[in-house]
Amino acid sequence: MTDSNTLSHLDLETPEKPFLDANELVINMGPQHPATHGVLRVILRLDGEKVLGLECVIGYLHRGVEKIGEHRTYAMFNPYVDRMDYVAAVSNGLGYCETVEKLLNVEAPPRAQYVRVILTELNRIASHQLWLGTHALDIGAITPLFYTFRDREEILKIYEKYCGARLTTHAFRIGGLQYETYNGFEREVKNFLDFFRPKIDEYEELLTTNRIWVERTKNVGTISAQDCVALGVTGPVLRASGVKWDLRRAQPYANYKDFDFDIPTGQNGDTYDRYLVRMAEMRQSVRIIEQAVGAIPEGPVMAKVPKVMKPAAGEVYHSIEAPKGELGYFIVSDGSTQPYRVRVRPPSFVNLQALDRMCRGQLVADVIAVIGTLDIVLGEVDR
């Protein structure tokens, strides 16, 4: 706490007052704290239990992913993106592959598109499950965590069977898929959907009408649509504030335009609405997968992509709707085998800056609820 430049607006450098006279309490939450979802450090300025302001200190998980990208070929960098948002690795892979495909001017064949959508939507469910479990745990309900992890396991099993990895899957390749789907892939996905549908009801049964849950989340961490837009907040947080903005609809990528699904939105922009939106999104994902899994066309899974990828000099930005919001990749090519610059626009990083706005004037317990509801992954925030 010596660097006065970074922490200035919290007045952390105020001269030592006698402790008993201090009306403000500065508390350091994290980086080792059970509810900061990794290594987020939050410096809270409190008046009793009331939050006067807070500052996030990030970077504890910085690995220089973007810089690494400049020293790897396009294909070699692909697995690295899985390590950013590791609970939604498939989505990250999809975003990167599509960006490079855009740069290369190739398009993945339809069969690959369908499988990509299925795996990505499964990933959205898995990510939301993890969010639900940890969020509920932060608010004090310990049981949902085990329910969601039990069911998330089924998704991970499908991933494991498909590509051998469960978490950092590296499921997609530039130009399509590396692997043809395994025997019984469609059946297992369908089985999962049948298994999972009642499970969402089970989660909702535990929480949606639970009096304490509603009291803890209603009117907590409220953020208006204008603030969301001003801060660049995307994803379920934005939609819970009433903005119907989903990149799957707004700028359709992959083959999302083939599917029929709703974009759930909230009105109040509070934690409870965000909870409802994410629960509804899980149901919508089930709907999308259901349509996709019955309609996977035959054909190749890989487009014609040169062995050595040398995209023409130029730049490209492409973004997808990751479970947490808009995940964008900006790649500058200088015509060589390696990108000149890779820039990632991670949803967690951008959403996290709304934390101060959402927490000010609330209580300490709400900070935990808000961190949970923002659904951040520090691997993605720090990259």
Partner: protein, 428 residues
């Protein structure tokens, strides 16, 4: 020597508690029994909570140490005792030292007046319930001391939270208790009692558990107490003081090893203590179900079989699970251990069938069974509820439970005096 034996024997036929009879020897014996029993209860509770919670959460819980993790609490206790004793450098050492003992002292002392049976209590005070409430609220002091002495922000906030919480819920709790005490005065003489044994005897005399008295007034008072007691013991959903996700561990963040285990011990014995108050005041204490209704030798016999049957059932469960153990040699010791445990339980069960034993023990059995029901509720709450926020907790205490408690108190008084009021209104 004869005198000593005479002194010891003199109590045996007594219908009083050793404390009230003034028999020092049996008093000491009872103190030791309560202490040992309580320690065993806490150990059992530790295992049960982890197991029950685990099964609520689709997992197995402790399975490694001993068959079905039966020895896990003992392993934990050993671990805690052997742990390095850490004290923060800036801590206020004497207070840091005293705080856990304060909490434990408060949690254990209340058991002096807990009536496990008409004669099975260490002593019978005429201010029993008052003593219990007073002493149990001392634990706040220990918690505040712990939070303050740690000289750290999280414990401080935790301590402040819990002291505010315990103090405010004590008010609602007290009102609920008073309405139950009012009910004890509904007899010919019109004299109520604060004695824990007297309260149960009053329920027996009136032929109704106070939870059903003046329905639904007794029920509401019981409900208020049941909520307040969860808050009083800092358990979920009111476990703000040790809210893991917010304050890491609350007031005992800086404690470790043995001293931490004292807080743990105190928490569980406090849970048992408040449950005993609830059982004594509203659920007929040691009385078996329908003591006045089914008051014939057959019913007496049937109900006296319950303790033995329970232990036999537990023993049978052990045998059943021992039979289900994997047949691999690796599990042989565990299988034998579980079967051995079953034998012990079954033997206890058989001993409990001896009429003279079961006559003495069945009061304790019914009391413990009712308290165990509350313990299960505690675990169930923890598995189901999210945590309240501090302001919501206060709101509930002051704006919901307190007015409710006042209302119930006034209505109970009115209902109790109703015959008198009626008389003076219509037959002046």
């Amino acid at each position: 020597m004869d005198q000593v034996i005479q002194y010891v024997k003199s109590y045996l036929a007594s219908d009083q508690t050793p404390g009230a009879a003034g028999n020092m020897f049996w008093e000491v014996v009872y103190i030791l029994l309560v202490f040992v029993g309580l320690s065993i209860a806490v150990i059992a509770m530790n295992w049960l909570e982890r197991k029950i919670l685990a099964h609520m959460q689709v997992r197995l819980g402790p399975m490694r140490v001993g068959p079905h993790g039966l020895l896990q609490p003992i392993a934990d206790a050993i671990k805690l005792l052997l742990k390095e004793d850490i004290m923060p450098a800036e801590a206020d050492a004497p207070i840091f030292w005293t705080a856990p003992f304060m909490v434990v002292l408060a949690a254990f002392t209340v058991f002096v007046v807990v009536p496990f049976g008409p004669t099975h209590a260490i002593t019978d005070m005429n201010i029993g319930i008052l003593f219990m409430l007073g002493v149990s609220s001392l634990s706040v002091l220990g918690i505040v001391m712990a939070g303050w002495a740690s000289n750290s922000h999280y414990p401080l906030i935790g301590a402040l939270r819990s002291s505010a919480q315990m103090v405010s819920y004590e008010v609602a709790m007290g009102l609920a208790v008073v309405s139950a005490i009012l009910m004890t005065s509904l007899n010919d003489k019109g004299t109520g009692t604060l004695s824990m044994i007297g309260i149960v005897q009053a329920q027996q005399a009136q032929g109704v558990w106070f939870i059903f008295k003046f329905f639904p007034l007794g029920l509401i008072a019981f409900f208020i107490f049941a909520v307040a007691m969860v808050a009083e013991t800092n358990r979920a959903p009111f476990d703000l003081a040790e809210a893991e996700s917010e304050l890491t561990a609350g007031f005992h963040t800086e404690y470790s090893g043995f001293r931490w285990s004292l807080f743990f011990l105190a928490e569980y014995s406090a849970m048992i203590a408040v449950s005993s108050i609830a059982v004594t005041l509203w659920l007929g204490g040691w009385l078996r179900p329908f003591p006045n209704l089914l008051n014939n030798p057959t019913a007496d016999l049937v109900f006296s079989l319950f303790p033995g049957v329970t232990f036999l059932f537990l023993g049978a469960m052990c045998f059943y699970n021992a039979a289900r153990m994997p047949k691999h040699p690796f599990f042989r010791i565990q299988t034998i251990g579980l079967a051995g445990f079953g034998v012990v339980l079954a033997l206890i069960g058989l001993v409990l069938f001896i009429p003279s034993v079961s006559l003495r023990v069945q009061d304790i059995f019914w009391f413990s069974a009712k308290v165990a029901g509350f313990m299960y509720l505690y675990i169930w709450y923890r598995g189901t509820f999210p945590r309240y926020r501090f302001d919501q907790l206060m709101q509930m205490g002051w704006k919901v439970l307190l007015p409710m408690g006042l209302g119930v108190l006034i209505l109970t008084a009115t209902a109790g005096l109703w015959p008198l009021i009626q008389q003076s209104l219509w037959h002046p």
